[in-house]
Amino acid sequence: MIELDNVAYSYSGAAILSGVSLQLAPGSFHFLTGPSGSGKTTFLKLCYGALRPTEGQVSIFDEDLAAMDRDAVAMARRRIGVVHQDCQFLDHLPVAENVALPLTVSGQASPDQADNLRELMTWVGLTEKFEALPPELSGGERQRAALARALILSPDVILADEPTGNVDWEMSQRLLRLLVELNRMGKTVMIATHDLMLIRAAKSLVNARNLRIAGGTLQAAGVDL
């Protein structure tokens, strides 16, 4: 799906990541941990083409990122669902339209999608919030709306950056179960988090690979975190 080969990323001379190699196989489930500021977000951005590596090679769906123009990256993002910690929305549009935004921008919006949208909103528990504006949502509701938006195009890969950062324990459990459920449906999932409790809680649900970023490099972390 997504492959990094000896990738380095530096910003104005300072190396943030170096020597990173990883293959995200279809249907795999990864946790990515590491202290704040260790480069988890940078790593994810490299995975969905928001950043280009300063060294090494990133392949997204078997295409070399270096050879992809901006439109090609846009097309690849329709197959990658991204959930940020501070998820942003179009604040002037109701939640339902925000969730359906990937359909709109890819020209796939049609009345047939209404059922799909309703089903997805029910699945993430936002049935009541169809017409609400994003600023009216709570932190947990925003995370779930972002997840729904990331899923509406039925992507192959889901990259979540601290999806449980702004929510309480119960809500983070719920989001985790949603992501595990997606993984069982065959999606590739990667969750960046510094919440070790969450990783422990996932142990009984899914066979996850744990990765750790520290000192600018990516290492396989033990299963016993």
Binding site: K45, R70, D71, Q88, L90, T104, V105, L153
Partner: protein, 300 residues
């Protein structure tokens, strides 16, 4: 996507794309107002250019007509001096043709003053010579000197020569009008670029969200381009309308009018201002397109 495709999409109007850009109150009104003001000014510059053009043409035709040489000489010398004048004219560069008027033509000229029964033959009438100039005209001072030497009784009468600088001035005025229109067009483009840049900067979050969910640059640019193009079109249409109304209520000076009272359109020229709003929209289209592409190119 080519510009043509983009214009097609623009006409098709994708409601979804229109909604992704939040409605902004103040820049909308500013763009509308500026487009209206620019169109209003364009209508006047256009009227000025066309009026100056008409003036230059009609005065130029007057000029092209003719000058006259009047030969007053004692009875016996008249024929000799006339022949001398015609010879001089033949050799003068800038003179297309020259011809002595017949007695019948001279009588016809005098008829309005003295009636048809005037015995012209018995009067010491001066001989008139009609001179047709070429486009370049002749050197009047040089011709006067030569006439003085060859035919002392000949007087060169350039009845419309004084208008020549005015024709040049009218031509310049027309040019200035067109330059003003070009400048207004460029200023409109600059204004739309500034407004579009401001809108793009104010909507950085919107653009980031759209990029994240897989919108292409063309889609994002299109949403902004559509908004600014339609706004400019509406503003320019209003400005053009007001400009035309203002021209309509200008007092007409009739035939005696000069550049001031002639500041209006004539006949089919009234159709010209109708091109102002579409042209303003085209300028806005390309200005926003360029601004959007530049801003988007700098983003991740």
């Amino acid at each position: 996507m080519s510009a043509l495709d983009r214009i097609k999409t623009l006409a098709a109007r994708d409601a979804g794309a229109d909604r992704v850009v939040p409605p902004a109150g103040f820049t909308v009104r500013l763009t509308l107002f500026t487009a209206a003001a620019m169109a209003f000014l364009t209508v006047f510059a256009l009227a000025l250019s066309l009026a100056a053009g008409r003036l230059a043409t009609s005065w130029g035709e007057d000029l092209a007509r003719a000058s006259t040489i009047r030969i007053s000489a004692p009875e016996g010398q008249l024929a000799a001096q006339t022949a001398a004048v015609l010879r001089v004219l033949e050799q003068t560069p800038g003179v297309a043709s020259a011809r002595a008027l017949s007695p019948e033509e001279q009588r016809a000229l005098l008829e309005p003053w003295f009636g048809p029964d005037l015995p012209v033959e018995s009067l010491p009438m001066p001989q008139l010579v009609e001179v047709q100039e070429t486009g370049d005209g002749y050197d009047a001072d040089g011709l006067r000197l030569r006439l003085q030497a060859e035919a002392p009784g000949a007087v060169l009468d350039e009845h419309s020569r004084w208008r020549r600088p005015l024709v040049t001035a009218a031509g310049r005025l027309r040019l200035l009008g067109w330059v003003a229109i070009l400048l207004i067009g460029a200023a409109t483009g600059a204004m739309v670029t500034l407004a579009a840049n401001a809108a793009l900067a104010a909507n950085a979050q919107v653009i980031a969200v759209l990029r994240l969910v897989g919108a292409t640059d063309g889609y994002i640019a299109g949403a902004f381009v559509r908004r600014f193009t339609l706004r400019t079109l509406a503003g320019a249409a209003a400005g053009t309308l007001i400009g035309l109304l203002a021209l309509l209520v200008m007092p007409a000076g009739g035939d005696t009018g000069g550049i001031l009272t002639g500041l209006r359109f004539a006949g089919l020229q009234w159709l010209w201002p109708l091109f102002v709003p579409p042209l303003a929209a085209v300028v806005a289209f390309f200005a926003t397109e360029l601004a959007a592409r530049r801003v988007l190119g700098e983003l991740a």
